[in-house]
Amino acid sequence: MGMPMKIRAGLKDGVTEVKILMQHEMETGLRKDAEGKPIPAWFITDVLAQYKGKTVLDAQFGQSISKNPYLLFRFKGGAVGEKVNVSWVDNKGDKRSDDGVIA
């Protein structure tokens, strides 16, 4: 089970802005540890954001996304007090799902 995300969602002029901060190492697989052994690649591959069961963003990541990935996007609609659900899965099959309440 992955570590919790931080999701902030705000409604303005009929558009919901979603900011997501995920906790993940995002190892490229190219780094070496102190003993010179390669650190295996470990990164989020897929992110899905949904509002009321409908997909509002569908992302795929590669090794070049920064540690603790950050995402910002906007979708039309949304209502204060409703939830935006975000889930991710990484290349090892680990996953995480969290909700952010629209403010």
């Binding site: 090794q63 070049s64 979708f75």
Partner: protein, 160 residues
Amino acid sequence: MNVEVNLDRRNALKAGGGLGLMALFGAVGLLSSKAALAEWNKTAFSAKTMDEALAAMGVSTAESNAIFIQLTVPEIAENGSIVPVSVTSTFPNVEQISIFVDKNPSVLAAQFNIPAGTESMVTTRVKMGQTANVVALIKADGKFYRTAKEVKVTAGGCGG
């Protein structure tokens, strides 16, 4: 489960999220790792050059356009491990936004599928091993467009 894995995720998306995989995601609120991995474009994300990556994504031509694609990156990044990238497109019917770093070991950083109702705008952060071009690729009405900007990655701190 097997049936769902074999479903084309793109088609599932277009069907409006009420079928197959999307129903599963909606109900569980979690991505099915198996399904997701099957979908993840391994060839494109492992590509070492822009040409390889574009080929893996089925892009034969991508017209250069800096007017309808706004790519916002810092001119200088104090640290290559976080480089903020924002892509906004004013093309109608944007379906996909992709971000590349042309000198990274794997050039494709991220690909975003933009469903109807979601603005054609996304901000994220990428790693850059050295000074390089950040490339934004947009798919709109089935056609591809691109723009690029250079980000200088500098030596930081006292170096120790």
